[in-house]
């Protein structure tokens, strides 16, 4: 197996390296991927030059992610949701002994001294609200600075993971229980798909946000796209938050949701 692995790796590497020589120079602004072939410009040039006029969103990545390639992003979100669901199918043991999650017996008091709990608990009590506030800022400010639904969702999920690490899993599940996070994950997908279907209900294509200015007060077609992107990002953030915490809570307790890490 060792020799086979070495040979396969070397073969793949040589194949790829021989292709590397044909690439454009690293950092070339006029390579085919950046500038297109011949007189036909690449689509990324259109994104750079026309995004602001189309959507009034300075962050091109957010605009492409949530508007031009919204269909792609919708199903990426569905993939994340499916990953969370398959964690349940693989690991969650429903037939075992039922341990009440917020019962005081479930708290692990084996090795930790009180000093550990006091210092880390105090720091986390100070930090967790700040982290959650920052996550909401990242979701909402994704139009003007790096950020958006995926990043904000991961940070929001990490704040619940931090709560579970600082106290124990029961405390975190008391605030964000299994029922709640599964509901939140579904709601996120539904928000995203709802924006798409709303456009269809107004006789446009799926996820063609321009038409939504008819039902949004005080917007024109351009600002409707901008606001719809914000709504879509909120949906993504819901799903990602829920699934990150779902994966952590199942992995850290081996599917029993009693003693965390």
């Amino acid at each position: 197996m060792k020799w086979f692995g070495l040979i396969a790796t070397a073969f793949t590497g040589i194949l790829l390296l021989s292709a590397v020589g044909d690439f454009a120079r690293f950092g070339d602004p006029h390579s085919p991927a950046n500038a297109g072939v011949g007189d036909r410009p690449s689509v990324s040039q259109y994104y750079i030059t026309d995004t602001y006029a189309d959507t009034k969103v300075p962050n091109i990545v957010t605009a492409v992610l949530a508007d031009y390639r919204g269909y792609d992003t919708m199903f990426e979100t569905v993939v994340i949701f499916a990953a969370g669901i398959s964690i349940f199918a693989i690991l969650r043991s429903l037939g075992g002994p039922v341990v009440p999650v917020s019962h005081p017996q479930a708290i692990d008091t084996s090795v930790d001294g009180d000093h550990q709990r006091i210092i880390i608990g105090t720091t986390c009590r100070l930090m967790i609200p700040v982290i959650q506030l920052f996550a909401l800022y990242v979701v909402a400010h994704g139009h003007h600075s790096p950020g958006g639904g995926f990043q904000g969702g991961v940070i929001l999920g990490a704040s619940f993971i931090l709560l579970a690490l600082a106290k124990d899993l029961g405390t975190a599940l008391g605030r964000f229980s299994e029922k709640r996070y599964l509901t939140l994950g579904c709601v996120g997908i539904m928000i995203y798909a709802g924006f798409g279907l709303l456009c269809q209900a107004l006789e446009r294509n799926l996820l063609d946000y321009e038409i939504l200015h008819r039902i949004m007060p005080a917007t024109d077609a351009v600002m409707a796209r901008s606001h719809s992107m914000l709504g879509v990002e909120v949906g993504v953030a819901f799903t990602v938050t829920a699934i990150m915490f779902a994966i952590y809570s199942n992995l850290s307790s081996n599917g029993r949701l009693d003693h965390g890490l």
Binding site: G5, L16, F26, Q45, V61, V64, S86, G255
Partner: protein
């Protein structure tokens, strides 16, 4: 030396991507431990992302976020103008030069790939926990041996 100058130096990012990919692939094939295989998979995945992001790099470009909201504040322009020439022409909404901004398309494709990657990593880790529950080991050869001895562990 000529080879170095024509082939390696202009493409050094691509060379490192191939090296990282080989490291990851080698780990995925030859490592015995399942967690080590997952570490290799993560390295492989970042190598792919490195390839994509390297394609979108333009030398002398800035990040793909336009500076339009600065135009609202005339004070900023005045504060910036006293050092260097007033290079405000590319900030104008009519004449955005595409060469001044990095290619946003690979960033978009790879941004979702990272989050999807971490959720699939979670699924893979769940599978390895489940395997450990059934077989009591994460080493590939021990698991294969236990399967050969009789598939009692698989049935229940």
């Amino acid at each position: 030396m000529e080879f170095l100058k024509t082939s390696v130096i202009p493409h050094f990012n691509y060379w490192v991507y191939v090296i990282l990919m080989m490291i990851g692939l080698h780990a995925m094939i030859t490592k015995n431990n399942l967690i080590k295989k997952l570490v290799g998979m993560t390295i492989f995945q970042t190598a792919i992302i490195l390839f994509y992001v390297s394609i979108g790099v333009k030398s002398g470009s800035t990040i793909p976020i336009l500076e339009h909201h600065h135009d609202d504040h005339a004070e900023v322009a005045a504060a910036d103008a006293h050092h260097g020439e007033p290079a405000e022409s590319d900030h104008d909404s009519d004449a955005v030069n595409p060469d001044h901004f990095a290619n946003p398309l690979p960033h978009v494709l790879m941004l979702t790939a990272i989050v999807v990657g971490v959720s699939t990593l979670g699924v893979a880790l769940a599978v390895s926990q489940s395997i450990f529950k059934d077989f009591g080991s994460l080493e590939e050869d021990e698991i294969l041996e236990k399967i050969k001895q009789g598939g009692a562990a698989i049935d229940d």
